[in-house]
Amino acid sequence: MNGTKFVLLLLIVAAATYGAAWAIGNAYVFFAGYIVLQYIALATAWNILGGYTGYVNFGTAAFFALGAYSTVVLHKLTNLPLPLMMPIGGIVSGLVGLGTGYLTLRLRGAFFSIATLALAVVVQTLITNWDFVGGSRGAYIVRPMKAPLLGIDYIQYLFLVMLGLVVIVLATARAIERSRLGYGFATIRDDEVAAEASGVPTLRLKLLATTLSGAFMGMAGAPLPYYVTYLDPASGFSLAYAVNGVAMPLVGGTSSWLGPVIGAILLGTLQQVATVTISSALNLLIVGLMLVAFVIVAPNGILGLFGAGAKRARA
């Protein structure tokens, strides 16, 4: 299947998803569905760096929250529509991704991961002390009742916007996998010295991966203020984003674009169901248990259980 056909298929699936949510006719479906979609975008963004190049990022929350706080700033200063705010949030997080990549180039393995963890702490501290965006008190965003132009309920609109982002992120991730770039990323994951000896400019590709991954995380976070209507550092930089960002691709499988999607749908839905039926405090416990279970039983994720299938999807 070539790229164009894949994008068409994605659009059809996206339209069907929206249609199905609409047909159920319950506002809560959009409300919960938004979170699952957000996690698909976030997990796929994480996987571009973590899965393709093998650099494990624990700072997902920082990139995500920077996107969200960009929207807070833009909301206070401008009248831009949300679909324009998202690329701006993406640029902010992408630039931070580039900077992070540049500063941590010499770090590999656990050392890189610890540096990203430190980044999350630093960014959170800065935001907490920035009064303009509410500081530690947080910021209130009054969202309109109806979406502009479309006239649909605003939560439905957010769902639709996030669905659009998911299509873009997935199309990008899959295109990378099948390109020269994808091979370059894979060689960085496998052996950087051998990659250089094969002519792969590892430095440039790593920066590209940190930038792209960060940018998509920022775009996924940009609509958050309108969704929650009240954003404070504790919720924007929630541990849940960092943990889910890592857990979802690992549970689904990191070798292909499909892995993070499976992981995000599975864990995201499970968490939403648990929030409603049991308690919202149970979320991370579920993720933790799933992660432990998968690390033991299926270290290559759900895709790894169907090893041949995953390999064929790549080829």
């Binding site: 020269r180 091979y183 370059g184 894979a186 060689t187 994951r189 496998d190 052996d191 010295v193 051998a194 990659a195 250089e196 000896a197 094969s198 002519g199 792969v200 400019p201 590892t202 430095l203 070798s255 080829a315």
Partner: protein, 241 residues
């Protein structure tokens, strides 16, 4: 043979902290040559290769290749100029198939071909080393000698002018050594200049047109292999007084 050498190393020095790994190494390799490089363990052979290929940065001296000064160029830029190497311990891309392993240098350092031409070229390269029927397998399915052959095929995928084979035969059986030797000689006949770093003297003597000996970071001999191996300094370095 052109007057200026293809590879020219002059006064190259490398230190690791207080340890002098290489001291004022001069080496010239001409186009089409088959050069043997020997020396006891720890004499600096691999360090020299790493400095020439950009895996390590050297503090002193310079490396020129095909008219370019390589100082300051990263390893991938040197590969693109036509300086390829195989690694002493095979370093395959473990999550990629054999075909994909050789595809990487074709995509990043080869001539820019169409997708179909690249596909064909992958199989040709694997066929050259006798691995074509395993093109869809992963490196973990390979034996040691197959791993070495993959290493050479991948180095050749970068269409190098100079190939540095770093102990491509260590640990192989005599028959397998002959296999790899025949392969290297065939590549040389196709116009690739080859530097062979090896401990197996039978292979080195058979292969080399010229022999260079490194001992403790110094070049102590450079010349006709038959003469070099009888050099008293070389004999002393290998056998002691």
């Amino acid at each position: 043979m052109p007057d200026s050498p293809l590879l020219e190393v002059s006064a190259l020095g490398k230190r690791f902290g207080g340890f002098v790994a290489l001291e004022a190494i001069d080496l010239a390799v001409h186009t089409g040559e088959r050069l043997g490089l020997i020396g006891p363990n720890g004499s600096g052979k691999s360090t020299l290769v790493n400095c020439m290929c950009g895996t390590l940065r050297h503090e002193m001296g310079s490396v020129r290749f095909a008219g370019h000064t390589l100082n300051g160029l990263s390893a991938h830029e040197r590969t693109r100029l036509g300086l390829a190497r195989s690694f002493q311990l095979p370093r395959p891309f473990n999550t990629l198939t054999l075909a994909e392993n050789v595809r990487v240098p074709l995509l990043y350092a080869g001539r820019h071909d169409t997708a179909r031409a690249i596909d064909t070229h992958c199989i040709e390269l694997l066929d050259m080393v006798g691995l074509a029927d395993k093109s869809k397998r992963l490196p973990r399915d390979l034996t040691q000698i197959e791993m070495r052959k993959l290493e050479l095929a991948r180095a050749m995928a970068a269409t190098p002018r100079l190939l540095i084979a770093d102990e491509a035969m260590a640990g192989l059986s005599p028959g397998e050594v002959d296999d790899i030797l025949a392969l290297l000689i065939r590549l040389n006949e196709q116009g690739v200049t080859v530097i062979l770093i090896e401990h197996i003297m039978r292979a080195v003597m058979h292969f080399s047109q010229r022999l260079v000996v490194l001992v403790a970071g110094h070049k102590i001999a450079d010349g006709d292999p038959a003469v070099v191996v009888r050099d008293p300094d070389v004999v002393r370095a290998y056998l002691g007084e």
